[in-house]
């Protein structure tokens, strides 16, 4: 078992900051894309690639690797930035986001970039595929873990709940869903658009083990994920409470940043804030 030392935590915080800066730069270069979700999931993706996942960027097709699926494909910039910052491809490639011929498609495509594990974007489809991978692992006695990142709003999709039922039926304790609970979607607050609360109770009623934590607190998220993985006989869900746009003050908590990128001036301001935050981490851990 690894130990999350204060030094390691500081390293991860710096990585999460790098990931956020990569998101802003790639979105600015792309001129379209989603801002709020990628920023608020930067800590979760940093924790996954930097601490929780069994993976090897030099061997992305390693059969025993943990599978990380991004169900809500529209927050791809965070996955791409995390992958680049953890060695899957050069950080400079982030500037090709959404451009013709790029491996970094607007929504992730496995055929062009196999390490994203699956093609995603149409919502509600990732967990079902994760259930399939986890079930396949059980059938063959493989011990990799399957992680599926989902948005809260995609819990409005029927297929997602078909997957929740199926994961419970097969007692897939090698499967952990992570929900980006930021309470926003394109048309407003999730609770106005189509209420999801009581959210945790729904999963409990479906026979999943439920964990909740601050999804923007690296140490808390890592501790929660490690506890979740120990669970036997049930799939687990981590409801990661996040602040949309986390790390950029003028985006935080504002649903209008769900589906748009910063302009040049806004990107400058965002990068200034993130650089200042970086200095703070270096000074105080």
């Amino acid at each position: 078992m690894q130990t999350l030392t204060p030094e390691r935590l500081t390293e991860l915080k710096l990585k999460a900051n790098d990931v956020r800066q990569g998101i802003i730069r790639s979105l600015l270069a792309a001129g379209s894309g989603h801002s709020a979700g990628p920023l608020d999931m930067s800590d979760v993706f940093t924790a996954l690639y930097g601490y929780l996942l069994r993976h090897d960027p030099a061997h992305p097709d390693w059969p025993d690797r943990d599978r990380l699926l991004l169900s809500c494909g529209h927050i791809a910039p965070v996955r791409y930035s995390a992958m680049a910052n953890f060695g899957y491809f050069p950080v400079s490639e982030l500037l090709t986001l959404r451009k013709f011929g790029s491996r970094l498609q607007g929504h992730p495509e496995r055929v062009s970039l196999p390490s994203v594990e699956t093609t995603s974007g149409p919502l509600g489809e990732g967990l079902g595929q994760g259930v399939g991978m986890a079930l396949g692992a059980k059938m063959d006695g493989q011990d990799f873990h399957v992680w599926v990142v989902t948005s809260d709003a995609e819990h409005q999709c029927g297929l997602h709940w078909e997957a929740v039922l199926t994961g419970a039926k097969f007692k897939l304790d090698n499967l952990t869903a992570i929900v980006d609970r930021n309470f926003i979607q394109i048309d407003g607050s999730t609770e106005d658009v189509m209420p999801l609360e009581p959210f945790a109770d729904k999963y409990r009623a479906f026979n999943w083990e439920v964990f909740e934590c601050d999804g923007n607190d690296l140490a808390e998220f890592i501790a929660t994920a490690e506890r979740a993985k120990l669970c036997k006989g049930k799939p687990q869900v981590i409801i990661a409470n996040t602040v949309p746009g986390k790390g950029v003050s003028f985006m935080e908590g504002d649903y209008t940043w769900h589906g748009k990128p910063p302009n040049a001036e806004q990107a400058d301001e965002a990068l200034r804030e993130l650089s200042a935050e970086r200095e703070k981490i270096l000074a105080h851990g």
Binding site: R67, E109, R110, V111, E117, T118, T119, S120, G121, P122, E125, L127, G128, Q129, G130, V131, G132, M133, A134, L135, G136, A137, M139, D140, Q142, G158, L159, E162, A163, L165, T166, K169
Partner: protein, 338 residues
């Protein structure tokens, strides 16, 4: 060979090892039975072959597979979109999953998942679309898929196979299990004439000439291949010789065979238990329009839904009986260039 009212079966039929389809008593077996038998064998040959079912194990003929290979069988209840998602995940870790429901629900209900998870994502998932066509019978229009070829053939990378009888469906099931690629296998519920034998060859993507003739080419798929042969036989009595092509692979279609039939005959009739629009016949028309403009008539359902009834009377009512094929041949002959 059985009794022959006019003459022996022609060389094409002999080369294809067909049974004498003019015999009074042909063996009648549902194409779905061929799927069930083929799947059991595929599961024995390769333990990675899985069967995933959405609460229709008996009627999709998964039952035998479930008994023969319980470790390879997965039941997930009434959730057809999940069939595709689950199978996509299993295929991603090396399995060869077959997912079965009625064609109306899978791919009917699950089309976007099929497009994204199977085709765009290029996973080795196989769809068994059962109860296709109006020959489903009494269940009525809600359960009669007559648009499924259209919605599947339009998807890039998708392989679409519509075998002509139970024996060929078994062969297709085995061939599809062993070939890589997202695939749709379409078959029906009702008993239908068995016209091929164990010796009849089968290769995905290669159309088969079941009858020689140079006046009109009848290009058919599925259980209506038999009706096409019956129509051709009747037409021969009035001196009209039809080539009958069993065009079992709608995608990738055997363009060489289609063009050869069109060039030899100069007129084409397509026959399918499907909407006339956008199905197998439409693909034939696309090939001909681009390469060899040829008069063509389409036999199929004319932009309508089905209804309850006996399979045979529905096939007649919706204009897909042997008589309707004969009429289409006579129509296209009138348009044929001298």
């Amino acid at each position: 060979m059985g009794s022959s009212p006019t003459r022996a079966l022609d060389r094409a039929a002999e080369a294809m090892h067909l049974v004498d389809y003019r015999a009074a008593e042909l063996k009648q077996v549902p194409t779905r039975n061929g799927f069930g038998e083929g799947l059991i064998e595929a599961g024995s040959r390769n333990r990675d072959v899985l069967g995933i079912c959405a609460d229709l194990s008996e009627s999709t003929r998964f039952e035998g597979f479930r008994k023969a290979h319980p470790q390879q069988y997965i039941e997930i209840g009434v959730s057809e979109q999940m069939l595709v998602a689950l199978a996509g995940g299993l295929a991603s870790v090396g399995k060869i999953p077959w997912i079965a429901s009625y064609a109306m629900f899978n791919p009917g209900r699950s089309w976007e998942q099929v497009r994204t998870i199977m085709a765009l994502n290029q996973t080795n998932v196989k769809i068994a679309g059962a109860h296709a066509g109006v020959s489903v019978g009494p269940d009525g229009a809600t359960h009669q898929a007559i648009e499924d070829i259209a919605i599947m053939r339009v998807i890039p990378h998708m392989i679409v196979v519509v075998p002509c009888d139970a024996v060929q469906t078994k062969k297709a099931t085995l061939a599809i299990s062993e070939a890589w690629g997202p695939t749709y296998l379409r078959f029906g519920r009702e008993k239908s004439a068995v016209i091929t034998t164990d010796e009849t060859p089968f290769e995905i993507g290669r159309a088969q000439t079941f009858r020689e003739g140079s006046d009109v080419a009848i290009v058919a798929c599925g259980i209506l291949v038999y009706n096409a042969l019956v129509a051709a036989d009747r037409l021969a009595r009035s001196g009209i010789e039809c080539r009958v092509v069993n065009n079992h692979t709608v995608k990738p279609m055997d363009e060489v065979a289609i063009l050869d039939a069109a060039r030899t005959c100069g007129a084409v009739v397509t026959v399918e238990e499907h909407q006339r629009q956008a199905g197998m016949g439409s693909r034939v028309a696309e090939i001909l329009a681009e390469n060899e403009p040829t008069p063509i008539e389409f036999v199929g359902v004319e932009d309508r839904f089905g209804q309850s009834g006996d399979p045979a009377e529905l096939i007649e009512h919706y204009g897909m009986g042997a008589g309707a094929i004969e009429e289409a041949v006579r129509r296209v002959l009138r348009r044929k260039k001298a």
